[in-house]
């Protein structure tokens, strides 16, 4: 026991949490005593006794858990312990609950954690759909409903979609570029462990007096500056989630730029690597803006500042500008990695090179650049500068061009391809192209000022966002998880259950979100617990499909859990893919490679006899089954 307390781990983490919380609490008490205030608030306004421990306790946990041990030693000038790799790799399931620096373990931790939050976010959505199945108030009060949709959005965005892509990329990206690990393994582990902390903070806001944060995931000021305590939980949670994603993005960028295998120049990188390169550029550049916006709201709430207080010279609209300067690029942060996944899967299962590979990569960069210039299309009705409307409308239309390039290139890849649909991953990829295109088209509609004014704050917006985020991002996430499941676990999932999940998800998605366009066009407002009875029939239909959609996710979970444990062995390369991660064992060895592979060609040379992407170390001894062993010189 005494040893367990001194070792980094859960015991020390728990003690650290308590010490951290006590330190924060003591700090508040001491500072209040010094500045002559009542030690405890008689009238609860800012709740400093809750807020400050909420910030310090996570740091206590991380210190106790061992996240900073190495850095503390370094800072104190002690000789650093030569890397013994004891915190690296997993041999038993307990290793997944440690501060592990192996990118494959971290990737798995990410995916499992985020799927857990996906489940929670889904349950919140189903609660809303239960309430909305009929007009009037049935299950939850109007205030609780506000909390439900806010938490649903925040959990899905910050704890599922953004980090699950980071998780998938964490697993496969270093393998794909032939790197032994990420550039900063300890920072990588730290970014993962910030995530459950953010999740706990978001969800524990339900316990706060006044209920969870309920100003929407956008948290517009001044709605948020005057909201009850739960809103501060949102402000703090976003900082942790944001720090996590900035650190991961920085890690990806450095890994991609400095650690590629010999021979892998920019134009031989798989498109997933390109996609994560561009996503990471967005994260590093844009995420600080939401941190800034939430700091300002937090200061207004806690310190009595006046950023958004009109009477004291504050500017309310500035919140929306700063918020959307992050949050519009954020929708591409939630989509670009998915584009990368789809490119990998379509090319592999159509047995053809990606059509227009270079243009695909450049389109990603084009989206990155353009996405910084479209934020104000969320504010057409907000009362912002009227001169900004038309330029923003034009840039919004423009962004459909690189996106269109991607869609047409996928179609071009499929054209005359040998399309194999035996994999659920490919089914999801094909469905993604269709649903995402519809979501993209409704996005262009929303980008037009007159239509936007008409459908602003209606279910049309809800329908659009869910077509691109569920029919878009989540489909690509499913595709990615099915595609790399054999690599990550070494076992094959059940394709039959995969198909049940696929068809259930597609039918559920369309049934849920297509009618929302129609009720939205008719003017049904979003974010309201009750609605006019004329929308009752469609809402019942929407709710029924939503519950179907929710139910089939249980099939997915069952399939994943049971196949992970009992599935048949998958083999190294079940999809006969070219990229490097498929040339190592499943699951890959703890240090990925004995020898860094040499890259000799493009990643998608399917259908070219003898074409190779990479030569693995010591591979000359083996004879790969489906392909001839001759090696073509790089062109």
């Amino acid at each position: 026991m005494a040893v367990a307390i001194r070792q980094p781990g859960w015991y020390r983490g728990a003690i650290g949490t308590i010490i951290g919380a006590a330190f924060g609490f003591g700090l508040v008490v001491a500072l209040r005593a010094i500045s002559g205030l009542d030690v405890f608030q008689t009238e609860q306004t800012g709740y400093p006794h809750v807020i400050v421990p909420l910030i310090t306790a996570p740091f206590g946990f991380l210190i106790g858990f061992g996240a900073f041990d190495y850095w503390f030693r370094w800072a104190a000038g002690k000789p650093t312990v030569p890397e013994d790799h004891s915190g690296h790799g997993a041999t038993k399931w307990q290793d997944y609950f440690k501060f592990n620096t192996d990118h494959k373990v971290i990737g798995t931790q990410y995916v499992v954690t985020t799927l857990f939050f996906f489940l929670i976010g889904g349950l919140l959505a189903l609660l809303m759909r239960a309430e909305l199945a009929q007009p009037g108030s049935q299950i939850v009060a109007a205030n609780t409903f506000n909390g439900l949709f806010s938490t649903h959005a925040v959990v899905m965005i910050f704890l599922f979609i953004i980090p699950v892509f980071a998780g998938l990329a964490n697993y496969v990206l270093p393998l794909m570029i032939g790197a032994p690990d990420m550039a900063f393994p300890r920072l990588n582990a730290l970014s993962f462990w910030l995530l459950p902390i953010a999740g706990i903070i978001f969800l524990s806001s339900f316990l706060a007096p006044g209920g969870s944060f309920d100003a929407g995931w956008t948290g517009y000021a001044p709605l948020s500056t005057g909201a009850p305590l739960g809103q501060s939980f949102f402000n703090i949670g976003v900082q942790f989630a944001g720090a996590s994603s900035i650190a991961t993005a920085l890690n990806f960028l450095v890994t991609i730029i400095t650690m590629r295998a010999p021979g892998m120049n920019l134009w031989r990188m798989p498109l997933l690597v390109w996609a994560n390169l561009s996503t990471s550029l967005l994260v590093v550049g844009a995420t600080p803006f939401i941190a800034g916006a939430q700091f300002m709201v937090f200061f207004d709430r806690i310190l009595g500042m006046n950023f958004f207080n009109f009477l004291q010279g504050g500017d309310v609209i500035s919140y929306q500008h700063i918020f959307w300067f992050y949050s519009h690029p954020a929708v591409y942060i939630m989509m670009l990695p998915g584009f990368g996944i789809i490119s990998e899967i379509i090319s592999t299962h159509a047995r053809k090179p990606v059509f227009g590979y270079r243009l695909m990569a450049l389109a990603l960069i084009g989206i990155v650049v353009l996405s910084y210039s479209v934020w104000a299309h969320h504010m057409f009705v907000a009362g912002m500068f009227s001169w900004l409307r038309v330029p923003i409308m034009i840039t919004t239309m423009l962004i459909a061009v690189p996106t269109g390039i991607k869609v047409f290139s996928w179609l071009g890849t499929l054209f005359y391809g040998k399309i194999h649909t035996y994999s659920t991953a490919m089914l999801f990829s094909l469905a993604f192209i269709v649903t995402f295109t519809i979501g993209g088209i409704s996005g262009v509609m929303l980008g037009m000022i007159p239509i936007d004014i008409h459908v602003s704050d209606t279910y049309f917006v809800v329908a659009h966002i869910h077509f691109v985020l569920f029919g878009g991002s989540v489909f690509t996430i499913f595709a990615g998880i099915y595609h790399w499941f054999p690599k990550m676990t070494g076992r094959m999932y059940d394709e039959r259950l995969g198909r049940v999940h696929f068809w259930g998800t597609v039918i559920g998605t369309w049934g849920t979100f297509i009618p929302m366009h129609w009720v939205g066009m008719d003017g049904m407002p979003r974010r309201v617990a009750d609605y006019a009875s004329q929308y009752g029939d469609w809402n019942l239909v929407i709710s029924i499909f939503a519950f179907i959609l929710g139910a089939v996710q249980l099939v997915f979970l069952y399939n994943m859990i049971v196949s992970w444990r009992f599935g048949p062995k998958a083999g190294n390369n079940p999809w006969r893919a070219n990229s490097i991660e498929w040339q190592v064992t499943s699951p890959p060895p703890v240090f990925n490679f004995d020898e860094i592979p040499r890259v000799v060609g493009g990643p998608y040379e399917y259908g070219t006899p003898g074409a190779r992407h990479a030569i693995m170390g010591g591979e000359e001894l083996e004879v790969p089954e489906p392909k001839p062993t001759t090696v073509t010189a790089p062109s």
Binding site: P180, V284, A291, I322, D594
Partner: protein
Amino acid sequence: MESASIAAHGHVDDHHHGPPEAHQSARIDRTILGILLFILSEVMLFGAFFAAYFFLRVVADPASWPPEGIELPVLIAGINTCVLVSSSFTIHYALEAIKHGNHRGLKLGLTTTWLLGATFLFIQINEYIHIGFTPRDGAFGSIFFSLTGLHGAHVFVGLLLLTFANIRAYRGHFGPEQKDHLGVEVPGIYWHFVDIMWIIVFLAVYII
């Protein structure tokens, strides 16, 4: 002598099968690229507050900026600017010294930088105490304390990094090879950023 890098370069020993050394596909060291990208995101964080600053000053269009009766101590802040700018030169001197294997110069440069940074912070806190308005006094108070405070927090972090560098310098840990003085170079890059950012904050808040 220790490697000063905080990145996990594989220390392969005989007893253990470690990872293969990663192929270096760019000329830049990964720790330096890391700190540059971190600075990029820090610039954007400042950008958010500068955006707020110009919204409050230009878009909200108050009657007077700063509000009536508030006089900013431009002279003291100007002296403080000189203090911080000169510290950029001293840390550059420290880095150049260790590149030539001059440990005495390294220690001298790092210590001077640390003292100049601490002086800056001390003067700024003193300025806060005597400035005559609080963060609660209108939008001006909010953004003034937020911008300068955000910068002050960065000076504090920079001082922490310099403290670590000082400890290691006095233990004789750095060397002329780049991989042996990353522990000076990386905090140095950060310190230059803090310095340049102050000039921008100073120009925006005090001068224009």
